[in-house]
Structure formats: structure tokens, C-alpha cells
């Protein structure tokens, strides 16, 4: 458990050292980036394997007076996503970012440090601080190309993200004012004798703040704009990790601090499920109209995160398992799709759906990977997306949300239409001679790795489910979590 803190320190230290290396030791810069990423992968695997039963790491040995870190199965799931995505992301970006790359990797390491901090901490204010670190560096990455559209989209992202942070900070302040502590377990105990109205108001602030970062319906408009002209490998990490880390913070906060009984009693479960249904129907309809591949995938991300929210908020054990599984699967599937689009963009500067016409014959393996990724995200049987979507439908039916289950099936057909549109374009014969800049192995390898994971997790879902089935133990009944955290 001593290793848990290194998960945060290592990327931070790497980012700072990269800053010095950029100025004076340019030769070792890329060796440092790759070496640190490999070391980080090894570290993450060590931490994930020792994640059960959870243990507490007290920073500065202050116990309840200071800040504690804790790795429980839900955190371990996010560390697993970092482990799966980060090294492919680094390898892909090495080749993809053609011009100045130094700052790019500094920001990536800062972003990962922020996300791992969010995932490990048990302190409410520390969560906020690391969230700011990750969203600020995420903004920096999304404007990395410095084009007009990129800057406009990032400006929207920055404003909305700050707005969300404002509400989260407000809720944090109110919580501290009310309970006199920032430790989540102690807050949970102190909340037991708090009046209903005040508790639900604080909860509303939390939900509203995080809903902006997650991109639920009226607050989703920043996401496609931010993705439109950003470096495409960044989109992989953003849709796989940055958005999910907000989901993590919301789930952790609500289930631990407020408890499932209060969520049920205040009607939040019903509200969020309804909200999710509206969000994904709208996002699917909007995605159908897009001609830009990045925007299409961005709307698809909004829809998939709405599925995740439905899974996580039906309030049963099956729902939590299904939602968490979909978090992992969506990170892999969307990563595959964005990587393929990134290669098309690298080789032919393709951004519109029209531009990729006929590429199915020029890039047979990559196009096949794209087809695998898109069929997985639609939810067709042999792939991983089917598994988690099926589990979500089952959990929704079991918890009595029949309309949600029905609309998920409707949404599946909607998503099939627009992904089919892309696939058909991909395999339409095109006579135009194409200008092809060969994509190297370092671009193809991460893509094919993630694409094959889509199939592996579809055929052997017990592999990740081994970890995921332990998640509800510490969320549905927050007593265990509190006991471990307070007991030291």
C-alpha cells in the first residue's frame, strides 16, 4: 500500500523533470517520457493487484487530521483504465504530434497525475484540487493545435468547466461549514443528523457541478466544440478518462457521503435515470446530423456516458457492476475509434466523413479495427459493448425502470444508423487517387491493441469482471468503506 502515493508522485515528478529537460537536456526528453510511462504501467499493475482488501495510506501520518489515500475496487478500475490507455496514448502521440511536442507530454503527465489523485483521495477538498489540475491541463491539451476553432472550442470548455468547478467548490465549502471536516467518512457520519432540505441542496450543487463536467443534456454543448480541432490522441484520454473521472467523483461523493438510502429517498435515482435517457436520445439524434468525424464521436461519447449514468444510478448491485463495466468498455471502444480517426487524420488530413470514402480498401486492417470498434459501441453480440449494455438493460429492468431499458434498445438502433453511415462510406469505392503518407507501426500498434481488447473482453468478460464485481461492496453499503477509512 506504500506504493499508492507513488501513483500520484511519479507523473508529477516526470512532468516537472520534463520541464527542465525541455530547456537543457533535449536529448533525453523522449527517453524520459517512454521510460516513465513504462515504469508507471508496472507501478499501476502492482497497485491494482493489491487493491483488495482496501487499505488506507495517510499522507504525513496525520491520520484523520490530514489527507488519506485509499485504493478500493472502484479506484482500481480507473487505475486499470489509465494502465490500458496511457502507454498506447504516449506511443501514438510520439508520432502524431509533428511540430512542437515538448509541452504536450508535460500536460499529459500533469493530467494523468490529476486524475490519479482524484481517484485515490478520500478528502473532499483534495479531490477538488486534483480535479482542477486535471481539467486545466485538459484544456491546455485541447487547444494544442492553436487553430481558431480549437481556441474557440477550448474557450467554451474552459468557461463551462470553471462554472462546474464553482458549484463543486461551493458545495465543498458548505459541507465543511456544516460538518467541520473534509474526510468523506466523517462527513458521512455527520450527515446522518442533518436536516433533509440542507442535505438535498448540497447534493444538488454537487450534481449540477459534476453534470457540467460529465456533459449531461443542457450542459453538453462544449464537448463537441472542444473535440473538433484538438489533437486526436488527446480525445482518447479525454473521453476515456477526464470525463469518467468526473463520473467517479460524483459516484464516490454521492454513494459514500450521502448513502444509497438518501439517494433513493430524495428521488435523485429516478431523476438521473430520466435525465440520462433524455441525454442519450438527444445525443444520438444530434450525432446523426454530423458530418465531422470528431464531432460525431463526441456526441457518441455523450450518449455512452448517459448509459453509464443510467447503469450507476439504478441503485442496485447489478446496476453498479454494469455501469462500471461500461466505463471500462467505453474507454477501450472510443479509444479504438479515435485512434483510427487519428491515423486517417495523420495520413490524409481527413476530418469529414466524405474524406474517408474508399479507405476501406487502402487500409484494410485499420478499417476492420474501426468496424470492430463501432460495432462494439453500437452493442452487437461478440464484442465487449454488448456485454455491458446487456447488463445495463438487465439491471434497469430488475430495478423497475422499464422505460429506460426500452429506450436503450431504441438508442442502440439510432447509434447503428450513424455508425453504419460511416462504415458504408468507408467501404464505398472511390476513384480519386489518394495522397497517402504511410502510417508507421507506432501508430498502428496502439490502435490494434485496443481493437483486439474489444474482442477479448467481449469473449472473456470474466477477465475484467473479476475486479468489477467487488465494486458494489464498498459503494452500496458505505459502512464498510467508513469503517476502513476511520479505523486507519
Amino acid at each position: 500500500m506504500e506504493l499508492a502515493v507513488w501513483v500520484i508522485i511519479l507523473p508529477l515528478l516526470t512532468a516537472f523533470s520534463l520541464g527542465i529537460s525541455k530547456l537543457y537536456f533535449k536529448k533525453i526528453f523522449f527517453k524520459l517520457v517512454i521510460g516513465s510511462a513504462i515504469l508507471y504501467l508496472y507501478l499501476l499493475i502492482l497497485v491494482i493487484t493489491t487493491s483488495y482488501p482496501p487499505k488506507v495510506y495517510s499522507i504525513g501520518q496525520w491520520g484523520l487530521l490530514g489527507i488519506n489515500l485509499m485504493v478500493d475496487p472502484l479506484s482500481a478500475l480507473f487505475l486499470l483504465i489509465i494502465a490500458l490507455l496511457f502507454l498506447p496514448f504516449i506511443i501514438f502521440s510520439m508520432k502524431y504530434t509533428k511540430c512542437i511536442k515538448h509541452d504536450y507530454f508535460i500536460f499529459s503527465y500533469l493530467m494523468v497525475a490529476g486524475i490519479s489523485g482524484m481517484v485515490l483521495t478520500t478528502d473532499l477538498f483534495n479531490l477538488y484540487v486534483f480535479m482542477e489540475v486535471s481539467s486545466l491541463s485538459s484544456c491546455a491539451l485541447s487547444l494544442y493545435k492553436k487553430t481558431d476553432r480549437g481556441i474557440e472550442g477550448t474557450f467554451k470548455y474552459l468557461i463551462m468547466s470553471t462554472f462546474g468547478s464553482f458549484f463543486i467548490l461551493l458545495a465543498t465549502i458548505l459541507t465543511y461549514y456544516l460538518t467541520g471536516t473534509l474526510n468523506m467518512a466523517e462527513i458521512s457520519l455527520a450527515f446522518e443528523d442533518t436536516p433533509f432540505t440542507i442535505k438535498s441542496t448540497i447534493m444538488a450543487f454537487f450534481v449540477f457541478g459534476y453534470a457540467i463536467k460529465i456533459g449531461l443534456l443542457p450542459m453538453h454543448a462544449w464537448l463537441p466544440d472542444a473535440y473538433e480541432d484538438s489533437p486526436i490522441p488527446y480525445n482518447v484520454l479525454s473521453s476515456g478518462l477526464v470525463m469518467k473521472s468526473a463520473v467517479y467523483a460524483l459516484i464516490r461523493g454521492l454513494y459514500i457521503m450521502f448513502g444509497i438510502d438518501f439517494l433513493d429517498e430524495s428521488g435523485l435515482l429516478t431523476i438521473v435515470v430520466f435525465w440520462g435517457v433524455i441525454t442519450f436520445i438527444t445525443a444520438h439524434c444530434l450525432a446523426f446530423q454530423q458530418s465531422n468525424l470528431n464531432r460525431l464521436l463526441a456526441y457518441s461519447t455523450i450518449a455512452q456516458i448517459a448509459y453509464i449514468m443510467i447503469g450507476l444510478f439504478v441503485g442496485t448491485e447489478a446496476g453498479l457492476i454494469a455501469g462500471s463495466f461500461h466505463i471500462l468498455n467505453h474507454a477501450i471502444m472510443k479509444g479504438t475509434l479515435f485512434f483510427v480517426v487519428g491515423i486517417f487524420n495523420y495520413s490524409l488530413a481527413a476530418v469529414e466523413i466524405e474524406d474517408i470514402k474508399g479507405l476501406g480498401y487502402k487500409f484494410p486492417i485499420l478499417s476492420f479495427t474501426f468496424v470492430v470498434g463501432s460495432l462494439a459501441i453500437v452493442g452487437l453480440p461478440p464484442f465487449n459493448g454488448f456485454m455491458s449494455k446487456w447488463l445495463i438493460v438487465e439491471a434497469a429492468l430488475e430495478a423497475g425502470f422499464t422505460y429506460a431499458a426500452f429506450f436503450i434498445l431504441v438508442g442502440t438502433f439510432l447509434s447503428l444508423t450513424y455508425y453504419l453511415k460511416v462504415i458504408v462510406t468507408l467501404y464505398t469505392k472511390n476513384e480519386k487517387p489518394l495522397l497517402i503518407e504511410e502510417a508507421g507501426l507506432s501508430l498502428k500498434l496502439p490502435t490494434i491493441f485496443l481493437g483486439s481488447l474489444c474482442i477479448v473482453f467481449g469473449i472473456v468478460p470474466s477477465l475484467p469482471l473479476h475486479l468489477i464485481t467487488k465494486i458494489p461492496t464498498f459503494l452500496l453499503d458505505n459502512g464498510d468503506y467508513i469503517r476502513i477509512l476511520i479505523g486507519g
Partner: protein
């Protein structure tokens, strides 16, 4: 019609703000009146035991650099990120600046003031744990030197005295130093960022070399904040 519409939007916005403010007022009022026996053991512990446990007579410093030093690490990282973003956004090529020529009175006065500012900043940083001040405040004061040079002379002159690369280097050294000081705790067999627990000697409260690692952490934060703010200011003023 459009004028009426404009006025209506303005009223609508003002109404929204007032409603939100009123709502918050009611909420704070409610929370405040909840009861007198609310648990305040955390802040009480900091106040009553803070000096003995950390060896720092400045309670703010003891919370910032000892009890919750991990938050400070995150905040310092945020300043570094902001400085890096701004330095990255503003192109290296020269942009036009406002070159208001000042009379020699201003220039001479600034020259005269700068040593005093440097002393004040160094004092605030080094005595941060025993008197009001600390790394953040002292860093801001130190960065004023670069800002004054930029404002009275020019960006070129300011960057001739303090090269951008050097500032970036100092900032990174500060950040790395903070993390390494935290790692000292792990290497001595305790936890990350531990101070008194790892027997770094909290010393006699009130002396300069007391409170274990706190003066050194203050120094690192001071270096980092001063360089970071100087970078941020120069980048912002270079903007066209």
C-alpha cells in the same frame, strides 16, 4: 423593440443573480442556525495542538505545509500548469507592447525600491513558519521585481535581466524540490510529506530553524510562485 428586448435580458440576468444570492443567503442562514454543538474538533485541534505538533507558530503555515501539505502540492502544480499554458500560448516572436516612456524619476525610484522588495520577499519566505507570510506571499512579493521592471522599462529589458528559460528552470526546480522534500519522509521510513513524525526535529517553536522541513518547503514554494507569476505576467502583457 430590440431596445426593450435588451433591457428585458438585462433585467432577467440581474433577477437571476439576485435570486441565486437570496437562495444562498437563506441556505447559509439555515446552516448557521442548525445547532451549537456542531463538531469542530478538527479546527480546535489545529488551534490547540498545532504549535506542539508541528513546531510552527504560524498556524496557517502549519495547516498549509504540514497537515494539508498535499493540497499545497496540488495548488502549486496548478500555478505551474497555468504558467506553462500561458508561455505556450503566447508566441516567442515579439509582439507589440505598450511602451509608455516614463520620466527618469520613475525609473530611478524603481531601481531604488527593488532591493527592499527583494529583502522583504526573502524575509516573508524564510520566516513564513514563525510570522505571517509564507511561500505564496513571499513568492508574490518577489515576482513584483520582474513585474515592476516590465512595467517601467519594457518586456525586453525584464526578460534580459530574468531570462524566460531561467524562470522556467527555477519554477521546475521549486516543484521538484517540494516533491523531493516530501519523499525524504518515505526514505526515512515514514510516509510521504511527513515532518515531525519522521523525526526531522520540530525544534523550539519560534526559532528560524524549527518546524522540521517547513522552512525548506516554504523556500521551494517561494521560488516556484515567484518564477511562475513572473512568467504569467510577462506572457499576459505580451499578448497583442
Amino acid at each position: 423593440m430590440s431596445r426593450l428586448n435588451e433591457r428585458f435580458t438585462k433585467l432577467y440576468k440581474i433577477g437571476l443573480v439576485i435570486t441565486f444570492a437570496y437562495f444562498l443567503l437563506v441556505l447559509f442562514y439555515d446552516i448557521h442556525n442548525l445547532g451549537t454543538d456542531r463538531k469542530r474538533y478538527l479546527s480546535e485541534h489545529y488551534i490547540s495542538q498545532g504549535v506542539q505538533e508541528t513546531g510552527a507558530t504560524n498556524l496557517v503555515a502549519s495547516v498549509l505545509y504540514d497537515y494539508r501539505a498535499f493540497d499545497t502540492l496540488g495548488e502549486a502544480t496548478m500555478i505551474l500548469t497555468a504558467a506553462t499554458v500561458l508561455a505556450f500560448l503566447v508566441p516567442i516572436t515579439k509582439a507589440t507592447m505598450f511602451g509608455t516612456p516614463f520620466k527618469s524619476i520613475v525609473n530611478q525610484t524603481v531601481k531604488l525600491i527593488i532591493p527592499y522588495i527583494a529583502v522583504l520577499g526573502a524575509y516573508l519566505i524564510l520566516f513564513g513558519h514563525i510570522s505571517p507570510g509564507g511561500g505564496f506571499v513571499g513568492g508574490v512579493v518577489l515576482s513584483i521585481i520582474a513585474i515592476l521592471l516590465t512595467l517601467t522599462y519594457s518586456v525586453e529589458f525584464s526578460e534580459y535581466i530574468f531570462k524566460p528559460d531561467q524562470k522556467k528552470f527555477i519554477e521546475d526546480i521549486g516543484a521538484i524540490g517540494f516533491v523531493l522534500l516530501g519523499l525524504l519522509g518515505i526514505f526515512t521510513g515514514s510516509n510521504f510529506l511527513s515532518n515531525g513524525q519522521a523525526n526531522f526535529g520540530t525544534g523550539n517553536a519560534g526559532e528560524v530553524f524549527s518546524a522540521g522541513l517547513m522552512p525548506f518547503i516554504n523556500l521551494m514554494i517561494g521560488l516556484k510562485v515567484s518564477a511562475g507569476l513572473a512568467i504569467i505576467f510577462n506572457s499576459l502583457i505580451k499578448e497583442k
